[in-house]
C-alpha cells in the first residue's frame, strides 16, 4: 500500500475536470430546468390567481347584474300586473258599459216590440171587436155596422152644422175614410147629409187599412172621428188592469 503522487496529481486534475464537466452538463442544465420550471409554475399560479381574482370580480359583477335583473324583473312584473289589472278593470268597465247599453237596447227593443205588439193587439182587438159587433148586429138586427155608423154620423152632423160650415170655409171636397168600403146606401146617406148642409161640396169616399173601424170625416181643416178607438182604449185599459193585478188569471185558472 503506497501513494503514487503522480497518480494523486492526475486524480486531482481528473476530479477538477469532472467537477467542471458535471457542472457544465449536469448541474447547470438540471438546476436551470428546475428553476425555469419553478418560475413557469409560479407564473402560471400567478396567472391562475389573477384569473381567479378576475373570475371573482366577474362573478361579483354577474351576481350584481343578476340581482339587478331580478329587481328589474320584479318591477317589470309588478308593472305588468298593474297594467293588466288596469286593463282588466277597463275591459270589465267597458264590458259592463256595453252590457248595460245592450240591456238598455234590449229593453228599448222589448219596449218597442211590446209597443208594436200592443199596437197590433189594439188594432186586432179593434178589428175583432168591430167584426164581432158587426156580426152581432147583422145576426141579431139584420143590419150592417157600417150603415149604422153612417146613420149615426148623419144624425150627429145636425148639431154640428155651424161648426162644419165655419170649418169648411171654402173647402170644395170632403173626404170620408173608412176601414172597409161603405155600402152604397150608406154612402148616399152620408153624401146627402153633407151636401144638405154644405151645398156644392164634393164628397169622396176612401178606404184606409191602417185606420180603425169606423168613419173619419175631413173637411178643410177639421176632422171628425167616429171610430172604435175609444172602445179599444177602454178594452186595453181593462186588459192591462187585469194583467197587472193577476186576479183574472187566478180566477180563470180556478174557475175555468
Amino acid at each position: 500500500m503506497s501513494i503514487d503522487w503522480v497518480t494523486v496529481l492526475a486524480q486531482i486534475a481528473n476530479f477538477l475536470v469532472l467537477v467542471w464537466l458535471l457542472k457544465r452538463f449536469l448541474y447547470k442544465p438540471i438546476l436551470k430546468g428546475i428553476d425555469s420550471r419553478e418560475a413557469e409554475i409560479a407564473e402560471r399560479m400567478g396567472e391562475a390567481a389573477r384569473a381567479q381574482q378576475k373570475a371573482a370580480v366577474a362573478e361579483a359583477d354577474f351576481v350584481a347584474q343578476r340581482q339587478q335583473l331580478q329587481a328589474d324583473q320584479a318591477a317589470l312584473t309588478e308593472r305588468v300586473h298593474e297594467e293588466a289589472k288596469q286593463q282588466r278593470d277597463a275591459l270589465l268597465a267597458e264590458a259592463r258599459e256595453k252590457l248595460a247599453q245592450e240591456r238598455q237596447d234590449t229593453q228599448a227593443h222589448l219596449a218597442r216590440e211590446r209597443e208594436r205588439f200592443t199596437t197590433e193587439l189594439y188594432k186586432a182587438s179593434a178589428e175583432t171587436l168591430y167584426q164581432l159587433a158587426g156580426r152581432a148586429l147583422h145576426d141579431l138586427a139584420d143590419e150592417r155596422l157600417e150603415e149604422h155608423i153612417a146613420r149615426h154620423v148623419v144624425s150627429r152632423l145636425a148639431p154640428l152644422s155651424d161648426e162644419l160650415a165655419a170649418a169648411a170655409d171654402n173647402a170644395e171636397e170632403a173626404v170620408v175614410t173608412t176601414h172597409a168600403p161603405l155600402p152604397e146606401g150608406a154612402r148616399q146617406e152620408v153624401k146627402a147629409a153633407l151636401q144638405a148642409r154644405l151645398p156644392g161640396l164634393t164628397v169622396r169616399f176612401a178606404t184606409d187599412d191602417d185606420q180603425s173601424p169606423g168613419l173619419v170625416l175631413r173637411i178643410g181643416s177639421i176632422q171628425l172621428d167616429w171610430t172604435v178607438d175609444t172602445y179599444t182604449d177602454e178594452l186595453v185599459g181593462l186588459l192591462e188592469e187585469r194583467l197587472t193585478s193577476g186576479v183574472s188569471g187566478r180566477v180563470n185558472d180556478h174557475g175555468g
Binding site: 500500500m1 503514487d4 497518480t7 481528473n14 477538477l16 447547470k28 438540471i30 438546476l31 428546475i34
Partner: protein, 240 residues
C-alpha cells in the same frame, strides 16, 4: 495479491505510464459526462421531463437538499463540489460489480487525491466567503493557543477522509477476492452486495463530511436571519 490498481500500467503516453486507476477514473468520468449530456442535451422548459431527466433531477435535488440541510447558506459551488465527490465515488464503488473493473476509489492515490481536494477546497471556500483575513482568524478561535490544534485538525480531517474511503473500498475488494478463493459461488455475491451498500454509504459519508468541513469554514459570514429560500434565490442570481 494486488491491493491497488496503481501498480497496473495500462499504456504509456509520452513516456509516462498510465495506470489502471487513471484509466478507470476516465471511464467513470466518461460514463457520468456522457450520461449527463445525453439526458440534458435537449432540455427545454416547455417539454415535460422524461424518466431519465426525472432521475437526474431527483439525484441532483437530493444532493442539493442534503447540502442545504448541512449548510443552508452555501453557494452552488459547494453543490458542484460535494455532488461530484458523491457521484464519482458512488459510481466507482458501484462498478465494483463489473468483472475485471477495479474501482478507482480502491486506490489510496485516488482517495488521497480526493482528500487533498477537500483540504484545498475548504480554505478556498472559506477565503472566498470571508476573505483571507477572516478565514485565517478561524484558526485562532477561540484563542491563539488553539492554532496548532486547529492546523492538526485540518490535516487530520483530510487523512481520515482518505484512509476511511480507501480502507472501506479496498477492504471490500480484498475480502471479495479472498472469499472468491474460498467459496466461489455464494459468499462473493453476498460480499459484492454488501460492497455496493458500503460503497454508497462511503460515498455519502465522504461527500457529507466534505460539505460539513466547507460549511464550518464558511459558516461565520452567514447572517442568522437569512432563510433558505432567500439563499437559494441568491445562489440562482450568482449562477446567472
Amino acid at each position: 495479491m494486488q491491493l491497488t490498481p496503481d501498480e497496473t500500467t495500462v499504456f504509456t503516453l509520452w513516456g509516462l505510464g498510465i495506470n489502471e486507476t487513471v484509466v478507470n477514473t476516465w471511464v467513470v468520468m466518461a460514463a457520468l459526462t456522457v450520461a449527463s449530456m445525453l439526458v440534458t442535451r435537449k432540455l427545454r422548459p416547455d417539454v415535460p421531463p422524461n424518466r431519465w431527466r426525472t432521475t437526474l433531477e431527483v439525484i441532483v435535488t437530493g444532493i442539493q437538499r442534503q447540502v442545504e440541510e448541512i449548510s443552508p447558506h452555501s453557494s452552488r459551488h459547494v453543490l458542484y463540489f460535494s455532488g461530484t465527490l458523491f457521484l464519482f465515488i458512488a459510481l466507482s464503488n458501484l462498478l465494483l460489480v463489473v468483472p475485471g473493473f477495479s474501482p478507482p476509489t480502491a486506490s489510496l492515490s485516488t482517495t488521497a487525491a480526493l482528500a487533498l481536494s477537500v483540504l484545498i477546497a475548504v480554505p478556498l471556500f472559506g477565503i472566498s466567503r470571508q476573505g483571507i483575513g477572516g478565514y485565517l482568524k478561524t484558526y485562532i478561535q477561540p484563542s491563539i493557543v488553539m492554532l496548532p490544534f486547529n492546523i492538526i485538525s485540518e490535516f487530520s480531517r483530510g487523512i481520515s477522509l482518505a484512509i476511511r474511503l480507501y480502507g472501506n473500498v479496498m477492504s471490500g475488494a480484498v475480502i471479495a477476492g479472498i472469499l472468491l478463493g474460498l467459496a466461489p459461488f455464494f459468499f462473493p455475491v453476498v460480499m459484492d452486495v454488501l460492497g455496493l451498500l458500503t460503497g454508497l454509504i462511503q460515498a455519502y459519508i465522504f461527500a457529507i463530511l466534505a460539505t460539513v468541513y466547507i460549511s464550518s469554514a464558511t459558516a461565520v459570514i452567514n447572517k442568522p436571519g437569512q432563510d433558505l429560500d432567500s439563499a437559494r434565490e441568491h445562489h440562482k442570481e450568482q449562477d446567472r
